[in-house]
Assembly symmetry: C2
Homo-oligomer: 117 residues x 2
DNA sequence: GCTATCGATTGACAAACACCAATTCAATTG
DNA sequence: CAATTGAATTGGTGTTTGTCAATCGATAGC
C-alpha cells in the first residue's frame, strides 16, 4: 500500500496549468491491493459473507449438506459461492467419502483484516 | 450474525432420507450481513481499495484533483468509484469552491473491521 | 458576460456476476 | 452391476459492473 502524495494547499493556478503536479504512481503495491480487493470482493455478497461467518464460528469443518439449507438459493448456487471463496483463498475444502467439508483457511482473511486495522 | 447449526457427526442415513435435518434460517441477521457485504463489495476493486488507503493515510480531506492522477483510468471513472464508496458509507465529500474534498467516514469500516476481528 | 476548469452525470458497451435447471462425476449401498 | 446420493459443472438468462467519450453544472478569473 502507501501512495505518496504531497498535500499542497489548494489555490487557483494560472489558466492552462493543471491543478496539481502529477504524482508518481507506485505500482509496487498494486499486487497487494489486488489481492485484498479479491478477498473483499469474495466477501461482497451476503450469502458468501454468511457462509464465512458460519465456517468461522465452527472452528472445525462443515459439511456442504448443512450449509445448503441455510440459504434461499439452490445447491448449485451455494456450490458456486463456495468456489468463489475458495478461489479467493478464504476457504478450502476436503472430501470425506460422499461429503465435502469446508473450512476457513487460517490466514485467508489476515491481510485484509490487518489493513482494515 | 450467528447462524445456529448443530454439527451432527456425518454418517450414512437410510436411502430416501435427507443427509441432515433442515436447519432453521435465522434471517434476524440478514440485514447485518447485507450491510457488511455492501462495504466489502465497495472495497472489492483495487482502485477503490487504494482510494480508501490514500484517504485513510491522510487523516485530512483530499482533493479529487490529487486522487485522479494516481490511477490509470479517466476522471469519470474515478468519480464513479468515489460514488460507490460514498454510497457504501465508507467515504464522504465536501465541496470547497471549485474543488471536492473526500475523506473517510469515521466509523464507515468499523462493523466489517470488527467482524473480521 | 465570456471563458476556463473541476468534478459529476449520462449513455453506451463489453465483461463479469448471480441464479437456476439439467447434467455429470464420485462414492456408497444393496 | 444398478441405483442412489452429495456436490461440482455446464449452459443459459437477466442483471450489474467497470470503463470511456461526451456533456453538463457550478465556480472563479478575466
Amino acid at each position: 500500500m502507501s501512495i505518496d502524495l504531497q498535500l499542497a494547499p489548494k489555490q487557483r493556478r494560472a489558466p492552462g496549468k493543471p491543478c496539481c503536479e502529477p504524482v508518481v504512481y507506485p505500482d509496487t503495491e498494486r499486487g497487494e491491493a489486488e489481492r485484498m480487493a479479491l478477498v473483499a470482493k469474495a466477501l461482497g455478497d451476503p450469502i458468501r459473507l454468511q457462509l464465512v461467518d458460519v465456517l468461522r464460528k465452527h472452528a472445525g469443518k462443515v459439511c456442504v449438506c448443512e450449509l445448503t439449507p441455510l440459504f434461499d438459493v439452490e445447491q448449485p448456487t451455494v456450490s458456486h459461492h463456495l468456489k468463489v471463496l475458495r478461489d479467493a483463498g478464504v476457504v478450502d475444502s476436503e472430501r470425506r467419502g460422499i461429503w465435502a467439508y469446508y473450512y476457513v483457511v487460517p490466514n485467508g482473511l489476515k491481510e485484509l483484516s490487518t489493513w482494515l486495522r
